[in-house]
Amino acid sequence: MAVINTSAGSKAVLVLGASAANANVLANTGLTVPYMQDITINNSTGVFRWKTLDETAESAATTPATNQVTLNVVVDDKAFFGNVSLTDAVANTGLYGCSKNKTRVYFEIAFNGRTAGQNYLSGSGFISGLAPTVNPDAPLWVTPVTIEVDGDFGSDVTL
């Protein structure tokens, strides 16, 4: 047992790619989202409840989960608008391009850095919820990002 301490930096890592292979956290082919302020993984199941006359309490069963990844990032120009020097389609078009074009993105989220033998979550979905904002007191662009996950999360250990 051990807590996962991210204070050393580069521990919580989100990599996006146009394929599962490109989103591999150990490969360097996808878009590693820089300047993340926070990241939240939502695996929220629905609940169906029913009552019967022979029970003193409700019964419950879970229904399929809504899966989302939400984060806030300080906008990096290449991550947001794309880096034309990269071949991966997601890295090439950036967060905004993927949102606008409704491109499916594959992702891996490392919990404890880009090293072998560490746990990560993976999946694919669509980017939404971009809302870049800036003001004079905090004069750097920041934006929320949501990955609406299509299907389930995968969970594995990096090799």
Partner: protein, 130 residues
């Protein structure tokens, strides 16, 4: 160019129409501790800039995202017995010099203090840059 140098240029240009006031590029205090603005009346002296780094955001990849808040004080004194002509217009012009500085945020506060037979104006400029 430092912000102080830019401010000296801006104040000089702004107060140029008011010939009974001058601007010095020297610091307001001489090495022996004498305040030059009480010695040379109706002359603006621009103090050294005092920068402070303030973190804007912290990020999970430990990126350094700071802004610089710079404070510069400007001093000017005149004889308290006789108000010099154009004093209000000159102070206003000096305040507007903040708009000539390239910064995300520019503010200025003016305070005046009567001491013996002198009125001393202190203009505190605050500039935020990234």
């Amino acid at each position: 160019m430092s912000i102080r140098n830019d401010l000296i240029t801006a104040i000089g240009n702004r107060i140029a129409p008011y010939s009974n006031f001058r601007l010095s590029s020297e610091y307001p205090t001489s090495p022996d501790g004498t305040t030059l603005y009480t010695k040379n009346l109706r002359t603006f002296y621009v103090d050294q800039q005092q920068p402070a780094l303030v973190e804007i955001f912290s990020t999970l990849d430990n990126a350094v995202l700071d802004k610089t808040e710079t404070v510069i004080n400007v001093y000017m004194a005149h004889d308290a017995k006789t108000e010099p002509g154009n004093i209000t217009a000159t102070i206003n012009a000096a305040m507007l010099a903040k708009n000539n500085i390239s910064a995300v945020s520019s503010t200025v506060d003016v305070t005046s203090q009567i001491d013996s037979d002198m009125i001393t104006y202190t203009l505190e400029y605050n500039f935020t840059t990234v």
